[in-house]
Symmetry: C2
Subunit: 378 residues, 2 copies
């Protein structure tokens, strides 16, 4: 299917869940959706340029309820959480979020959540798109850990962009300005129970409001919309162009399903010196010494402004050898050239390596470029 | 969102996989898609009446590649498979498929695959929409079972309807007529490697061709299209109306995520007398004696021909008490009345129980009806 063709419709049925903000997104003019963690998630409001501009220069509100939580609660919760990730969690304080890649027993990344410790024995994994809850339940049950694992009624709404802090301070109080990156706090907006965190899937700054009762979805949506009016708030979604420019990993999109953390540039989060056991430890030791077989790299390439690719595009070297896959490409507004995130054999990962790929009947030529493709603040 | 509103578009991006038949479905005019096992799956070609008629009276070809396989291979494969399901697999012969609900350690159904034993030490679970591969890997690794678990390059294409057998016999030989229900065989169509099974998610008869190499997707699609022309073949999808009439369970659509097999009418597949251990055994024993808390029932109701519901609709009893959820409703062409599949408290599950629900500003009144709502052959 050519990118210019009209896209098919998305079936709305009870098999896939609606977010508590769904009606708000439709009213705001959402034109495109995807499915993420068995839930509808808007991906566009039909004006990509305006959505990008709002994120870079104003404030944008995103329905990211599909970023579901896996709640782990009970006496063995901490022990289980430490066993689940190769990251060394150190003191693992309440109120400080952590980015914790999860690997299976073979060292393959199966999700890359943010971990939130809400209470001594209560944790959330705020997940990307895979059924982590099934995996955690299997591990906990087979090891006899004493804890309950569930997906609670918690739905994040992201407020992103340079004006996000002013807006969230208006809504919840000036104290939110003191939150450090990934810091979070349990709070409420009037009667609406929330966890507020300084986080979000962009590099433009902002917050995520984890709504703790879906019944208040539209109330929260409307409250933010109204309070945000003076800042010119508008709807947005996880932004294809900004995230490529910023080099944010999209789990499941940017790599093959057997990728390990070293290949995905997450090696610094793997602590092989830990004395306690964790899933995939032996496999990760082998992978760490074997050297990354492939690598996630930035790529800059020629041609007319590139329309987002619909599927991974095979890349090749100057002499025509297979050289991995272009996973996510776009025209970078800030770099003023085409860029992408590619998953390539380590031999082709050096900055400056010339590669090419085919799309829509023409050849695109470019070179491996430093990540992030656009530096923060540019 | 009112059902009459234009549906949003589905974003096509590398995060979700394309089926090997994707280009064929687009060329055939697919108008609606969903996402199933992280893959696009067509749900309509824009003419529901024609698609239903073809399935009931002719032959229909469905891209169900999203019904992915979890492959389990190795010395402990059989031991693992038996541990994964509460069903007693008995002799578990090569070539005979089995419907095997999977339950977690708490007795909750997490998928309802068909099991295919291809070789002594090689099994496929042909799954509904959840990441069974992560769950099986966790179980196998934690128990130290010696086997490999993967998602192979296998993509089912269903051929359904009363003329399916003639067509598949033309393609693969008269021997396919001898296959019993769920029987299967490894074979090939010229150079295209296949497993052919008498199966499919309808009660109209037919086969599933499990394509074993995605590179041949369009070749297989076109071969079926061409050989099927004399039978009036056309494209179709898992059929919303036919499956409700026939009482086929749609995992994830028809129930809450904590449902057990007794509640879903799958109790006869749970063998609590088995001497060997299996996941959820103790929990299922407790649930079996506790009596099903809820029950999946058929429902027949009044009103103008009903358009498919977008989300579960709360039901209530004659005196206004909450009485579960209408999960999937439609106008039954064969019964000539509105019907649905509801998940209700056991107290309201008796045949003839009067219940009602609200949708689109009006009240629908009806009664619990025997399943299947339309008997096979009607």
């Amino acid at each position: 299917m050519a990118p210019s063709m009209t896209l098919p419709a998305i079936t709305i049925s009870p098999r896939i869940r609606k977010s508590p903000f769904f009606d708000g997104t439709i009213a705001a003019g959402a034109t495109h959706f995807t499915v993420y963690n068995h839930m509808y998630m808007p991906t566009s409001y039909g004006d990509p340029a305006a959505e990008y501009h709002r994120l870079l220069h104003g404030v944008s509100m995103w329905d990211v309820a599909a970023e579901r939580q896996v709640e782990i609660v009970g006496p063995d919760a901490e022990k289980l959480v430490r066993y689940l990730t190769p990251r060394n969690l150190g003191a693992c304080e309440i109120g400080k979020g952590r980015y914790v890649p999860l690997c299976d027993h073979h060292g393959r990344v199966i999700n890359d959540p943010v971990l939130l410790r809400l209470e001594q024995d209560l944790f959330w994994l705020s997940i990307a798109d895979s059924d982590v809850v099934l995996w955690v339940r299997a591990v906990a049950a087979e090891r006899g850990f004493d804890c309950e694992i569930s997906e609670p009624d918690v739905s994040p709404l992201a407020i992103q962009g340079p004006k996000a802090e002013d807006l969230v301070a208006d809504l919840l109080g000036a104290w939110v300005r003191e939150l450090k990156y990934f810091g979070f706090k349990q709070t409420a907006l009037d009667h609406i129970p929330l966890v507020v965190a300084r986080s979000g899937w962009s590099k433009q700054g902002g917050f995520e409001l984890y709504l703790r009762d879906g019944d208040f979805g539209m109330e929260l949506w409307d409250a933010i919309r109204e309070a945000g009016a003076k800042y010119g708030i508008g709807p947005g979604t996880p932004n294809h162009v900004e995230r490529i420019e910023s080099g944010l990993l999209s789990y499941g999109a940017d790599h093959e399903p057997d990728a390990d953390p070293f290949e995905l540039g997450l090696g610094k989060l793997v602590d092989l010196t830990r004395e306690d056991d964790f899933i995939g430890k032996e496999a990760l030791k082998r992978r760490s010494t074997g050297g990354a077989g492939r690598k996630l790299v930035g790529f800059a390439f020629d041609g007319e402004p590139f329309v987002a690719n619909q599927h991974p595009l095979p890349m090749e070297s100057e002499d025509g050898a297979p050289a991995g896959m272009m996973r996510a490409a776009c025209y970078s507004v800030r770099r003023k050239e085409n860029v992408g995130i590619a998953f390539v054999p380590a031999d082709y990962a050096g900055i400056g390596t010339q590669l090419r790929f085919h799309s829509g009947g023409r050849v695109y030529t470019g070179h491996v470029a430093e990540m992030p493709l656009v530096k923060p603040g540019k």
